[in-house]
């Protein structure tokens, strides 16, 4: 059997997590070594073939199952311990190889666990309704004059719409920077992720900010206050708060 690794923690998996089923339906357990624990499960290595995935139906089903199970285990751990989530699909040939990992990279894991201890990841998105956001007088359609033909009027209108959209976009981007700075001031660390695909997330309008914020547990309310302060649906400005997350976004040091 191979050993699938979910996360690294400072303590063995709590009873509640050991009762869980992992990515292959296997019971979740921990491997302890030198003051660190790897949260793992025994899986059939044939399930993780080395052949490249082709994105077919079986691959998709496998990915769905992995995603759900991996996330469930990590989130359950995060409830009451500091957890360093591993990226999906980390598999070793056996427990002794995981012990070697804990030995070889102990200093790095301990430093990261120290960095995230007592902190929670929150996600904040800023969604701007591109139509409602900050409509200004110059955003309105200009009068082309009575002499203008239909074609001219059409082109003028198109140009005006394009300029208006660009101005609104610029204002939305500036607001995103402002919101991010205010959230970052409350957070111990922050990251800006790429905007999500609207067809997947279901959001409307422009996602001008998709941020992750690592916040000291005592300062959660301050973060929430910032979110509330900027949330302004009547102006077409909506903030979305998600969490608490295991600190996925902060598991790796930020690259310069």
């Amino acid at each position: 059997m191979a050993t699938y690794v979910y996360a690294i923690t400072r303590r063995p998996a709590p009873e509640r997590v050991r009762g869980m089923r992992g990515v292959s339906g296997e019971p979740v357990r921990s491997i302890e070594h030198g003051g660190l624990s790897a949260i793992v499960g025994s899986v059939d290595p044939r399930r993780f073939s080395e052949e490249p995935a082709r994105g077919g139906e079986e691959d998709l089903r496998a990915l769905e199952g992995l995603l759900r199970a991996h996330h469930r285990v990590v989130q359950a751990l995060a409830g009451d311990t500091t957890v360093l989530p591993l990226r999906l699909g980390t598999v070793y040939r056996g427990d002794e190889r995981v012990e070697a990992l804990l030995e070889d990279r102990r200093a790095e894991f301990e430093a990261t666990l120290e960095r995230i201890a007592g902190r929670t990841e929150w996600g904040v998105k800023l969604l701007v309704d591109s139509a409602a956001f900050d409509a200004e007088p110059e955003d309105r359609e200009p009068d082309a004059g009575p002499a203008a033909g239909a074609g001219t009027r059409y082109l003028l209108r198109r140009r005006s719409e394009e300029r208006s959209r660009q101005r609104r976009w610029d204002r939305a981007a500036a607001l995103a920077d402002q919101v991010h700075a205010a959230l970052d001031a409350v957070a111990a660390a922050s990251r800006r992720h790429a905007p999500q695909d609207a067809r997947l997330s279901g959001h409307r309008g422009w996602m001008v900010l998709n941020g992750a914020y690592l916040v000291d547990q005592g300062r959660d309310r301050e973060l929430l206050a910032v979110v509330r302060r900027f949330d302004d649906p009547e102006r077409g400005v909506r903030l979305e708060l998600t969490g608490p997350w295991a600190p996925y976004s902060f598991a790796e040091e930020e690259r310069a």
Partner: protein
């Protein structure tokens, strides 16, 4: 302002696009987009011993996105507003063809969620 708990994932967001009437009853679970973003793209990268066949995760992510959020399916649901979004409309157009190809697969994958895995026998001959 929307506040969403991150405790569960996947089904909760897929379901609105899947015509599942129960989907909206769970507004407080994490969205698939959020879960994908973190579990596939974040977290500590450790090589491991086995090169998992999900290594080409980018491709799979894109396919999952298409599978779940197919343009055709979304349009069926009356969700077509991205076509008015300049950051999405060109891509939506490019993806339309691939979506058509994936649609057959989507149809294959979907129905079991709404039916019991095996139909109950009609009745007992003896009874």
């Amino acid at each position: 302002m929307t506040v969403t708990e991150a405790t569960t994932g996947w089904n909760s967001v897929r379901t609105p696009l899947r015509r599942d009437p129960g989907a909206l009853a769970h507004p407080s679970s994490a969205s698939l987009a959020d879960v994908l973003e973190r579990v596939l793209d974040k977290g500590v990268i450790i090589a491991g011993d086995i090169r998992v066949n999900l290594l080409d995760i980018e491709l799979l992510t894109i396919r999952v996105r298409l599978l779940i959020a197919s343009v055709d399916r979304a349009r069926e649901m009356g969700i077509d507003w991205w076509e008015h979004d300049p950051t999405l409309s060109s891509r939506a157009h490019d993806l339309a063809e691939e979506n058509r190809q994936l649609r057959a697969r989507l149809e294959e994958l979907e129905p079991p969620d709404h039916e019991p895995p095996g139909q109950e026998p009609e009745g007992d001959e003896d009874g």
